[in-house]
């Protein structure tokens, strides 16, 4: 009798090892470097002095307190605004609903600091509204700088997340549940609290947690509009870049503390979401009704007002980009394209940089995500489980910490990458990859394994099956996810601000640089270009995915 042996070498094991090495090099080692930096003095001795300093001085402790205060307030207001908007939008006919939804998405997609900047132009010391109110009514507008301003900007930036999550949940409530409760004699008021609220609670909580984490890690907004209101991401940056004195070790120590805090928040979120999750799916979504009379007017007024205020910062920046400026870049009466001309010298390098960094990062993220999803779903083993867990690490690492960790690791030693475009790309990959992996895993789990087995039984090798069957089937879902990642990469600030050099300037960084130089017109012009790219990307996303709702 003859026997035919299978080849012992498995290509996928090589892929696993390669991916693990990538993670070790660009994630594990940088994290250890930052940990080491935080406990080693310049003389090379072990010391907890930086942690002692942080916890010993009220000023530093207050940055954490401030961060939590800002996040809690933002979460509260985002829920307060976003939840009713989602309910109204799901249960009642609102004119121009689809336009409204797109505007909501766009307002969530800009970089938060750009929103902060626009609000300064509107409500700041010499802001448009501030001046108008003083000149015309002699009313002094409340101070936009500090806690209030930060919460205002973050709330308007993040309420769309609540809106999108809750709308998504309401869409999954089957109309028959409403009909059943009607049938059982429950009125509309009771029904809302007994049926609809509990069923959408999971999503409300999920969105609240997301808003909280985003607000906690946000860096640009408090930096710009916070003034004396210091939060820990800002403190990390200040310590690191050091206007007065640099202190890398202290920045590293705060980073370690920041990771611990975000880990706790993440763990709480995990526990909460496991506890309150229902699986619901609607055959027929709830039908929207037309409200009558006063109710109708209130619904429309509320919805339009929220959406308009949310989109106003971006619209105002676009308007400002066409205003005439003086030699210092400050606005004067009249209109011109001067700001664009002035911005051009930056945009000329920043635009190709942005496209290159974003493009390469997205391609890398997509490739790695597909491979990792395949390993995790189809070939679970010890190594691949470790990869799965490791790949989720960036979830809990704030962007600015990613930046510092990379700088510390790659500014000396065998691999020097600081100041290069490569290090920017690496940072973007690290920041985005967990999201793409999650969605890739979800997509692959939906694909029955028999489809791949069919291919193998038809004589295709495993590798061929992966490229010819698995990848194309995953593609459409991943591409739409990738476009959303692309948008977030376009507007990323917190990691790139630690890493950029003149060579690797991006559009978002250009906006920041123009703002910090006080050249308002050019800042507006670049922000407008950025918005144009965002809108274009969203349009492509909607075309590709065929859907209107976006969950980041």
């Amino acid at each position: 009798m003859t026997e035919i042996r299978r080849r012992p070498l498995d290509l996928w094991q090589a892929v696993s090892i390669a991916i693990m090495l990538i993670y070790v090099l660009f994630l594990i080692i940088p994290l250890f470097s930052i940990l080491k930096e935080s406990v080693v003095t310049p003389d090379g001795e072990f010391s907890l002095q930086y942690f002692a300093k942080f916890f010993g001085e009220a000023y530093y402790l207050r940055t954490i307190l401030n961060s939590f205060k800002q996040s809690l307030a933002t979460t509260f207001f985002a829920l307060l605004i976003g939840t009713p908007l989602a309910y109204l939008n799901s249960f009642f006919e609102i004119r121009g609903r689809s336009v409204m939804q797109i505007l909501i998405v766009i307002s969530s997609m800009s970089a938060p600091f750009v929103g902060a900047y626009s609000w300064i132009l509107l409500l700041g010391r010499s802001g448009l509204i501030t001046k108008f109110m003083w000149d015309v009514f002699r009313i002094e507008m409340p101070d936009i700088y500090g806690f209030g301003g930060v919460v205002l900007v973050l709330t308007l930036q993040l309420y769309p997340l609540v809106f999108m999550y809750v709308s998504g949940a309401l869409k999954n409530i089957d109309n028959s549940l409403i009909e059943a409760s009607q049938n059982l004699g429950v009125g509309p008021f009771k029904r809302f609290f007994q049926i609809i609220m509990p069923l959408s609670l999971t999503s409300i909580l999920a969105s609240a947690m997301l808003v909280f984490r985003r607000a906690l890690a946000d860096f640009g907004t408090p930096l710009l509009i916070g003034e004396g209101y210091r939060t820990f991401p800002v403190e990390i940056y200040k310590q690191y870049v050091g206007e007065s004195s640099q202190n890398h070790s202290f920045a590293a120590a705060i980073s370690v503390i920041a990771i611990l805090i975000t880990t706790i928040v993440f763990a709480v979120q995990k526990i909460a979401s496991n506890k309150f999750s229902y699986k619901i799916n609607a055959l027929y979504s709830i039908e929207r009704k037309k409200a009558k009379g006063l109710l109708n007017a209130v619904i429309h007024l509320y919805s339009y007002l929220v959406v308009l205020i949310g989109i106003m910062p971006q619209v105002y920046l676009i308007y400002c980009s066409f205003r005439k400026t003086n030699a210092f870049g400050n606005f004067v009466d009249g209109y011109s394209l001067d700001s664009y001309k002035r911005a051009w010298s930056f945009v000329r390098t920043a635009l190709p940089n942005t496209l290159m960094i974003g493009g390469i990062a997205i391609a890398t993220v997509v490739l790695l995500s597909i491979l990792i999803a395949y390993l995790v779903v189809r070939r679970p083993n010890a190594l691949n489980n470790i990869i799965d867990t490791t790949s989720m690490l960036p979830y809990i690492i704030p962007g600015s910490v990613v930046g510092i960790a990379l700088v510390i690791t790659f500014s000396s030693g065998p691999m020097i990458l600081t100041g290069t475009i490569a290090i920017m790309i690496i940072a973007m990959c690290i920041r985005r990859i967990p999201y793409t992996i999650r969605s890739s895993v979800a997509i692959l789990q939906q694909i029955p394994i028999t489809t791949e087995e069919a291919s193998i039984s038809l004589g295709a090798s495993k590798l061929k099956t992966f490229f010819k069957i698995t990848t194309p089937m995953m593609a459409s879902g991943i591409v739409s996810g990738a476009i959303l990642s692309w948008v977030t990469i376009l507007t990323e600030l917190s990691a790139s601000i630690m890493l950029y050099s003149a060579k690797s300037q991006t559009l978002t960084l250009s906006v920041y640089v123009f703002i910090s130089r006080g050249t308002d017109g050019a800042a507006c012009a670049v922000a407008t270009i950025l918005t144009a790219f965002t809108v274009l990307s969203l349009a492509i996303f909607m075309k590709v995915s065929g859907k209107r709702d976006i969950i980041l």
């Binding site: 009798m1 003859t2 026997e3 035919i4 042996r5 299978r6 080849r7 029955p448 028999t450 489809t451 087995e453 069919a454 291919s455 193998i456 039984s457 038809l458 004589g459 295709a460 090798s461 495993k462 061929k464 069957i469 194309p472 089937m473």
Partner: protein
Amino acid sequence: MSINITIKNAVKKYGDTVIIPDLSLEIKEGEFFTLLGPSGCGKTTLLRMIAGFNSIEGGDFYFNDTRINNLDPAKRNIGMVFQNYAIFPHMTVRGNVAYGLKNRKLPKEEIQARTDEFLKLVRMTEYADRMPERLSGGQQQRVALARALAIHPDVLLMDEPLSNLDAKLRVEMREVIREIQRNIGITTVYVTHDQEEAMAVSDRIAVMSGGVIQQVGTPRQLYQRPSNLFVATFIGHTNVLNGRLYRNGDESGILVSNAKIPMNNLDRNAGEQPVAVSIRPEEFVITDKGDGVLRGVVEHSTFLGLNTHYQVRLQTGEKIEIVQESSIDDTIATGAEVSLGIKTGKINVFAEGGAVSLIDGGVPS
């Protein structure tokens, strides 16, 4: 080219859980062989071991004389049809059927010709350029069949191919499958939990339970002479009555429900003992003359057109189901006392516990 499949002492384990303890089987060349059993009996596991998608923890699998235990599934030359069709959604019908041929690097003309041939065979020619999402379940299954057969496989494996179809289509498709299999003459292993489907398509059936083959035989053998009580109850409907085997000189028979029923086909070597008697609903005869062996009261009747089903409570309290051909005006009223005859040549008797048949000999296949 068709082959025979030999399985010797196959073992399947998941961790410490043994799914198949020790299974041997011989599938003949060109045969339509079905693995039948309730869910979790190991039938799909065994099929996937043959296909190469499940690891083999012990034993030997042969295609003719070639041991295939370690052969890459892609090289086994197997045509496989899956429960969920597993049609590639991003390829046209033609693309699906041609996929296996392209992997074999056949010349373009031959791929075209063979694809056409098999699309015609499953009557899907007019849908050749459609995308799968625009096909019905039955059409997708036809494509899956054409795709599996186009590569001229040595073996055709089918894993519950009809269970996702509606009842009417299921009957239609099983005729299609049977006809095509017969025309091509390919060795086919078919997995199903539907005993009627198995009976309709198979040359031979292996009834499985708990990872163990209970009986291998033709549909007729399984129905008429089941080798144990599990097979008797799993294939078709049956009434199981507890009784006793008696011997009285030359005469032997069974005692059930206070009645003495002589039989002439009991195993000569079986002594007096408690037994389980399997009597199918159609093996009772209701007589109005009072000359039956058992007595009972009709509790309920259901008229189903061709047949009428009666639920009868015997004197000893046991409830049985009886099927009689319906005739004009003769439905027996609920509460009526009836006398029951038994077609003793057809019934089956098992030793207590049901593992061993006490009937002498079987029926020819």
